[in-house]
Amino acid sequence: MTDLSPQLLLYIVTAGGLFGIGLYGFIVGPQTLRRILALNIIGAGIFMLMVVLAYRGLADDASLPSTDPVLHALILTGLVVAVSATAFALALLARLNQAKAAQCSQDQLRHKQGPGQ
């Protein structure tokens, strides 16, 4: 069924599993922060898959055994992009929470003043 060595297989299945776990977390949530974490886990799973795919070059019996530098470069690019997006998402979340908190305190203030009027 598969020509992969057991070690590669193990890591590939783990990468797939991480994708699944992240996907579940992303769908179920419920807090936004957890969904952001779940997205990062999905990302980690995908990058891990790419690392494993790059590792195949070492296991190869080619003349120049080495890991795949193109994949490594793609992963570095992908990591930066992912962390940028996460940072932006967290900034949005912080703003949302602040707005909510302000709303809450206003509501409470109104609630306190309510009976007096």
Binding site: G20, A44, T77, V83, F88
Partner: protein, 314 residues
Amino acid sequence: MSLLLFDTILCLLLLALALASILSRQLAHAVILYIAFGLMMALAWARLAAPDLALAEAAIGAGLTGALCFSALAHQQIQLKPDVLSWPQRLWPAVFVLLMLGGVLAALLQLPPTASQLIAVTQAGLGNSGVSHPVTAVLLNFRSWDTLLELVVLLLALLGARQVAPEVKPATSWSLSLSWSRLLAPMVILLAGYLLWAGASQPGGAFQAGALLAAGAVVLRLNQQLSWLSWSNFWIRLLTVSGVLVFVLTALTAILLTPGNTDVVWLRWPPQLAAGIILLVELFATIAIALTLTVLVAGEPASTGAELGCGEGV
């Protein structure tokens, strides 16, 4: 055999940490578990012969994302009762995920065991690329357009985050951490410089160096140092965009320098100048990355928020 055992334990640990992070009741636990997960991931990548990626993952995946999540947690309202999901709310997504996972895994098992033939092409091109570390060659020569766009994405994240950022509460610094941080700063700069230099021939490079520098700057920043480090300062703005700016200007100059420019090729470095160009681009990219990450994590100095009349917040 023992290596396979190690691999198995590592993989199981990774899966367990990820699952625990998703399922834990408290958000703070989830973030801590996620950081542990990131560190384990770095270990796994080091095991898979990717030390530079492991370095980056430890700095970004665990360190930076963790730091960002913790600062988000601080803004998060404390929930009195955690959201409890009912069984159907958990079951249907789980069924969907399992189906999808089955499909993906079935496909992944079909992957061929041989690596891409691009490895040989990369090795062949390495001689003319100006650097001897293949990953750096791919990042800054073969596929430099990706890297340029990636720097733009990073800059954009900063712009977006700045635009929506709520004001930061000034925290009092701790005298011991203050004195330590002053001691730490020069060492961090030295180390970052080494990483940048090493990137040409060994694992390391602009991003790792930038992340390290940023870590140093954030520590100083959290101790109320570096108050000049803010977006309203023109020189900071210039340095932050310098990563992209120098990249583009260098590429334009390279076009002008090419003799007999009948066909203009974007981003082609002349082979004899490539080493210098790549170092120049990397140097500014490192500074830009460090500044961007610092502002992203530590935010603007609290004083600007107060000046705008936003006050202390709630």
